[in-house]
Symmetry: C3
Subunit: 116 residues, 3 copies
């Protein structure tokens, strides 16, 4: 049976799950929900950096990113933070959709998988 | 060429697809749409148990879960059913977003992948 | 370190990322946003065919498909195009949810992964 590695887990979910050369991160919402969308996105992406390193990966190894925006009219602001962050030599596939998010006030949540 | 195994397929989609040590399940909606959210969630999670076993996996092997809620205000009720179900030693990464679902009246749909 | 192959990349994202025997495609929106939903879906699915072949895969190797519809009341029209396209012997797992999409007027976006 292949090994599944879980990190930063509580009884409800893990923040990092690694298996078969791929690391999955939980959806990362912004904590500072009073900040504008670009700042919330930058905060989320910094969290992803931290989690990827903890898993033994990094943003140059990203495979996919799904971006959930609370208001699609704010996509341009999200994209500014994205472009300042993403490795331009190694960008993942991406999709961006508008959904209401679990934490009221959260403007953005990002879910990624990366190669180990 | 690597092997792809499909189970419970019709002409439109499969309910189980396994490949490379990972099993993907189709989005599982509740069938009893008159039930409250917690009961709908519990029904969905029982379906997932059944499908995972049929694929040769089980909930202790979950990698990721995406929860689509028709009304985010019902997240606490969904979470009650989730906490009663998830293996607290082996929780997957998770994301929860609000979207309208294909079956009118469905309050919740869950999509998971698991290690074989 | 396992190899990640990126194709059709710009500084923001890749349209194709392959790793570990699996190819991930970016969310494919329709370009002709004046067309009805069935035609938009057919266009999206043709794009996916092209990208899968470029990655060294094809629709008979699909693992998962997530369909984002701007208006769930148009699901039946999307399904018509889907049924005309999908390999009935090799259908992927599937989920369909309603979300607002990044391109105003886009009725549908599809995100798939496939085995190489």
């Amino acid at each position: 049976m292949t090994t599944v590695t879980r990190q930063l887990s509580d009884a409800q979910f893990s923040r990092i799950v690694s298996h078969g050369g791929v690391v999955h991160l939980a959806g990362q919402p912004a904590k500072d929900r009073s900040a504008p969308v670009k700042a919330q996105t930058a905060e989320v992406l910094r969290s992803i950096d931290t989690l990827l390193v903890q898993a033994g990966s990094n943003k140059s190894r990203l495979l996919t990113a799904i971006i959930y925006l609370a208001d699609m009219r704010q996509k341009a602001q999200m994209d500014e933070a994205w472009l300042e962050w993403v490795d331009p030599e190694n960008p993942p596939v991406r999709a961006c959709v508008e959904t209401r998010l679990g934490n009221p006030g959260s403007a953005v949540m990002v879910r990624v998988i990366a190669a180990l």
